[in-house]
């Protein structure tokens, strides 16, 4: 089970209302390499990964939900004071026609979230390589977002999230090495 903590993992501040930026950020909410996909990917792979790696997948998967909440907070803060006209001018007219002011799990181009964004092969090394690739793709996405954003407050939180992708990637790389070592050991029964 999970227990909710009433705080963000890292402070999220925005300088001003900016629905255009929110439209881009939604990529990390409901996009292929976003935080929802990350959380669902790792937590689903836990059941068939060797025992030594279950803790890591559980805790990184859980942290991803915290990141999802940070992205949602960014989108909420960037759009909460926007008029319908401003949303429309920012390219969010189609979104607003369906969802009004609500958030939704789709990518920056409006394509709804799909389970086909994630993989589970039941082969430990294959799954961990998938996870490393996912972290690197998310890191690259955060870099594009930072490059496109001119909001220094927002960029501070985006940089934090980018760094977390690096850490998670490194943790998964280490997990691969641990499994390789284990496979090379002789087993006596």
């Amino acid at each position: 089970m999970w227990i909710y903590q009433k705080k963000l993992q890292y402070p999220v501040r925005v300088s001003q209302c900016n629905p255009r930026l929110a439209k881009y950020l939604i990529e990390q909410y409901g996009g292929a390499d976003g935080e929802l996909a990350a959380a669902l990917r790792y937590l689903n792979q836990r059941y068939t990964i060797p025992d030594r790696i279950i803790g890591l997948l559980t805790d990184i998967g859980t942290e991803e939900f915290g990141h999802l909440e940070m992205i949602a907070t960014m989108v909420y803060k960037l759009t909460k004071d926007a008029t319908l006209e401003q949303l429309r001018d920012a390219g969010l007219g189609e979104h607003a026609a369906d969802h009004g002011p609500a958030l939704f799990y789709h990518n920056a181009a409006g394509v709804p979230f799909t389970a086909t964004y994630i993989q589970a092969k039941g082969d430990p090394i294959t799954d961990l390589y998938e996870d490393i690739a996912a972290e690197e793709k998310a890191r690259a996405t955060y870099q594009w977002l930072i490059d496109m954003s001119d909001d220094p407050d927002l960029n501070d939180a985006l940089r934090f999230l980018r760094e977390r992708e690096v850490i998670h990637s490194q943790r998964f790389r280490e997990a691969v090495e641990i499994l390789k070592q284990e496979q090379q050991q002789k087993h006596f029964f």
Binding site: K6, Q9, T73
Partner: protein
């Protein structure tokens, strides 16, 4: 709309976020290095710091988890303080 939070809220929250960050990093490390005595000792020490800071935060700004929501017998504290995206 909930009333604005006091100025010290941000400072206390950042202190809490800082200790929790250290604990998260140690936790991920310990997940794959469960027998590292130095990391275990650090985790213990930071858990104690976390306990003190979280206690002070909750006393001033309300519960961090729903289990702490019934300190008063008159109203449910859990829904009184602002949600993370509202501050």
């Amino acid at each position: 709309m909930k009333p604005p939070v006091p100025q010290e809220y941000d400072q206390w929250l950042e202190q809490l976020q800082t200790v929790d960050f250290v604990l998260t990093e140690l936790q991920l490390y310990l997940d794959t290095h469960p027998s590292d005595p130095q990391a275990l000792q650090q985790f213990r020490a930071w858990t104690e710091r976390r306990r003190l800071i979280a206690g002070q935060f909750e006393a001033q700004f309300g519960p961090l988890e729903a289990t702490g929501g019934a300190r008063s017998l008159h109203h449910w504290d859990w829904v009184e303080s602002p949600w993370p995206w509202q501050v």
